[in-house]
Symmetry: C2
C-alpha cells in the first residue's frame, strides 16, 4: 500500500524513525504495569478544585476574551506574574523578555526553528532530555556530548568538546532529566566562564528547579550570567537584563499541570522578537483559555503553597525508591541520588543492555526507560531512567522489588556469559 | 546592542522579516478603530455558558486526566466525534485517520515539517492564506501561484503552473481566506483530475466549510477524491478510505472558539503516523484540558444548533457590509460576494496601492489587510481583504462609509496622477 505522500517526505523525516517518548507513554497505559518509564507528575497532586473555581471565574468575568484569539507573545498578566516569580530566584527580566509557549517542548522546537541550520552541531550533556534530541533532529542538527557525574556536566572535559564548534550548549542544571543530578555552583561558574571565553551561548532548560527536596537553591545560569555582565558594567542601559549568553526555559507542567501545555522562554528582547515570528507560524499563540485559567489559579500566591505540597509528596516517593533500591537491587547496580525533580539514573554492569532487559521487565510488570534513548549517539546501553513521581509509594516499593529480580537474574546470566566468552562468540558467529 | 544570538539565527529566519498577522492583530486592539483587518469571530457568539458547564463537568468527573499528559494523537472521544461529524459531509474516515492539532496553524507547520525540503515549490491560489505562506517559508519553500476568480482557482491555468513541478498544491475550496470565493463543483472535479494525472497531491484547508449562508454544501476535495478511488475499486481493503491524493485540515476556531487552539488533520494512516512523530517534537500533544472541555461542550449535538446561530449572525453582517459597499464605495471598486465564511476581497483601480492607503484608512479609524500580504510574490497591490464577522452591524456600516471616503479621495488623486504621468516620473527620478 503506497500513497502519493510516501515519496514526498522531507529529508528531516529520516530522523523521526523512532518515537521513544510516545512508545513509552503507551507502556504506561497498561494498568497492571508499575511504570517508572513516563515523566508524569502524580495526578493526586493536581489542584482540581482550584481549577474549577478559576475556570468559573475566568468564564464569568472574561469569557469572550478567554475564548478569542490572543497575541503571540502571551497573556500580559501571566507574563508579568512569571517576571515577578522569577525575580525571587534572581532572574531579573521584563515582560518583554518572556514568551509564553505551548509547553517547554514548543520552546525547544522554536529554538530549533530560529537557530538551527542543517548540519549545525549542538553540545549536550550525556545523557540529555530526549525531547530536545527529537525536536532538533527534525532540523537536521548533529550532536556532541560531554559526560556528567554526580555534580552534573564534567566541565573539565568541556573545552575539548567545544573545539568542534557547536552553535550552542544545551544544559539542564537542576535535577537533570534523565539523570537527576544537579550542576554544582562551582561548575556553573566554570561553565559560564568557558562559554564566555569561547563565545558559545547556552540554552538553560529548567523544568524542575522549584522541586528541590533538600539543600539550598542554586542560582540559575541565566542569573549568574547577568551578574557577570553587570560586574562589567554593561547593564543598566534600559534594554533589560537579558543581552547575555543564556536563554532560559521553564514550564508549569511540573508545578501546576502538564495537561495545560504551558511553558515559557526568557531571552533578550531581540531573541524574543524572533521567537514570536517563529511561533506565529507554528500555532499563532498558546490557548488564551488555558493561559487565563492558569493565571487565575496562581495569581494570589497559590503556587507557593502547592509547590510545597508537591515537594512533600515527591520527596517521600524518592525516599521510598532509594530505600527499596538499597534493599532489592543487586550490589552491581549503581544509581544517582537526586536532590529534587522526578528522576534518577541507574547504571548496570557494562555487559548488560537495558533495552534488551526492558522486555523482561515488562513481563515482570514493571517498566523504565533504557538510557540509550537519552544519548544522542545511542550509547549508554547499560543505563536506565526511573521516575519516582508518578507511582504511589506502595507501588514504588513493589516495582523496585520486581526490577531487582530482573536485574539479579540478568546479572547472573551476564556473569555466566562473561565466564564463557568463547561459547558466546561461537553463538554470535552462528556456528551453534 | 548585539547579543551572542544575532550571528546565530538560522537561514530560515531571513524569511521571517515581516510578521503581518501579528501587526494586524495589534491594529485591532485600538478601541476607536473599526477593524475589518483581523480574522476574528464575533465574541458575542462564543458559548460561554456551555463552556462553564463543560469545564465543571470535566474537572469534577475526570479532573486528574484532564490535567495530565495525554497521547500525541489526541483525545480518543474527540477524534471519534470528528469522524462522526465529518461522515455527514461525505468524509469517511476512521479515528486513526485523525490527528488533533493545536489549531489549524499547527497542522500547516506540521505539513511543512514532514514534507518540505529547502527549495521545494508549493502551488497555491493567488491570493492565499497568509499563515500558510508564513509557516512554509520557515521551511524555505518557494511558491508558485494560480489566480482565482469568482468560481475559485482558475483550473484552466493549472496545468501550465504544474509544469514547474510543485511538491503539493494548497487549496482553500470554501469561502477562501482571503478572497471569500468558493471553488465550483465542476472545477473541483477538474482539479482532482489534473492532480491525479500529474501525480501532484493536495492539501485541502477547510476552516469555514460549515459557515455557509446560502446555496448547497459542495463536497470536499478529500471526499471527491475518495469517491474517485472507490470508483476504481481500490477501496474496501480494510485500510480505511484515506490513501488518496488529499490531506484535509479543519478547526474548531470558527465554529466553537479560536482561543482553544484546536484543529485537526485527516490523512492516510501512514501520513498520520509521520505527523504524530513530528508533533511529538513540537508540543508533545495538544492541551488535554482543552480537548476534553471542547468534547464535553459538543458531544451531545450542541455544535449543530450553535453553527446555525453563527450562520445567522454572520450572514446578517455580510449583508450589511455588501449593502454598505453598494452605497458608499466608488464605482471603480470591485468586490467578491462570499456565500459563506468571514471575508470578502476588494479590488481598486490598478494605480492604487492598498498598503500605502492603509495609513490613510487608520487615520480615518478603519482598517483592512492589504492584499499583497496574501500573495506569495507580494503582488496584488491594489487589493484588500475585509472581515465581516467581528464588527457589529452598525459599525460595519460606519466603517465601510469611512473606507468609501478614503477610496474616493484616493481614486480622485490617483486619476489626477494618471493624467500627469511625466510629472510623477520626474518626481520619482528625484529631479523635483
Amino acid at each position: 500500500m503506497t500513497t502519493p505522500w510516501q515519496q514526498r517526505y522531507s529529508q528531516r523525516m529520516k530522523w523521526m524513525g523512532s518515537s521513544i517518548i510516545r512508545e513509552l507513554l503507551k507502556l504506561t497505559e497498561k494498568p497492571d504495569i508499575i511504570s517508572f518509564a513516563g515523566g508524569l507528575p502524580a495526578p493526586e497532586v493536581f489542584p482540581v478544585k482550584e481549577f474549577e473555581a478559576a475556570t468559573q471565574q475566568v468564564l464569568a468575568e472574561h469569557g469572550s476574551r478567554a475564548l478569542q484569539y490572543g497575541t503571540t507573545e502571551g497573556y500580559g498578566p501571566l507574563r508579568e506574574y512569571i517576571v515577578r516569580r522569577m525575580s525571587r530566584y534572581g532572574i531579573e527580566a521584563e515582560p518583554e523578555n518572556v514568551l509564553i509557549t505551548s509547553g517547554s517542548q514548543q520552546a525547544l522546537d522554536l529554538i530549533g526553528k530560529i537557530l538551527i541550520n542543517p548540519g549545525d552541531l549542538i553540545l549536550t550533556e550525556q545523557p540529555t532530555y530526549v525531547g530536545a534530541i527529537q525536536a532538533w533532529r527534525a532540523y537536521q542538527a548533529e550532536f556532541a556530548t560531554v559526560p556528567i557525574d554526580d555534580e552534573g556536566l564534567r566541565t573539565d572535559l568541556l573545552e575539548e568538546a567545544l573545539c568542534a564548534g557547536p552553535k550552542f550548549m544545551y544544559i539542564l542544571p537542576n535535577f537533570q532529566n534523565p539523570a537527576g543530578v544537579t550542576l554544582s555552583l562551582k561548575r556553573r561558574m566554570k561553565l559560564l566562564e568557558i562559554a564566555d571565553r569561547y563565545g558559545i551561548p547556552i540554552i538553560e532548560d529548567d523544568p524542575y528547579g522549584q522541586l528541590r527536596y533538600e539543600g539550598d537553591h542554586l542560582p540559575s545560569l541565566v542569573a549568574l550570567d547577568a551578574q557577570k555582565l553587570n560586574g562589567r558594567g554593561v547593564s543598566g542601559n534600559g534594554m533589560g537584563f537579558f543581552r547575555g549568553n543564556v536563554i532560559y526555559l521553564s514550564t508549569f507542567s511540573k508545578t501546576l499541570a502538564p495537561g495545560l501545555r504551558l511553558g515559557w522562554v526568557v531571552a533578550p528582547k531581540e531573541v524574543i522578537k524572533r521567537c514570536v515570528m517563529g511561533k506565529q507560524g507554528m500555532d499563532l499563540h498558546t490557548s488564551t483559555f488555558v493561559q487565563m485559567v492558569a493565571y487565575e489559579v496562581i495569581k494570589d500566591g497559590f503556587l507557593d503553597e502547592h509547590v510545597r505540597h508537591i515537594r512533600r509528596v515527591y520527596r517521600e516517593r524518592r525516599d521510598v525508591m532509594l530505600a527499596a533500591m538499597e534493599r532489592y537491587f543487586p550490589p552491581e547496580v549503581h544509581w544517582t541520588i537526586p536532590a529534587g525533580g522526578l528522576f534518577l539514573w541507574i547504571t548496570l554492569p557494562e555487559s548488560l543492555n537495558t533495552t534488551q532487559l526492558l522486555e523482561k521487565a515488562v513481563e515482570n510488570k514493571v517498566a523504565y526507560v533504557p538510557g540509550s534513548a537519552f544519548d544522542p549517539a545511542g550509547d549508554s546501553l547499560n543505563t536506565a531512567r526511573l521516575n519516582f513521581s508518578n507511582a504511589r509509594p506502595e507501588n514504588i516499593e513493589l516495582g523496585i522489588k520486581r526490577l531487582g529480580q530482573v536485574f539479579e537474574t540478568a546479572i547472573q546470566q551476564g556473569l555466566t556469559r562473561e565466564t564463557s566468552p568463547i561459547v558466546t562468540d561461537v553463538q554470535l558467529l552462528g556456528v551453534n
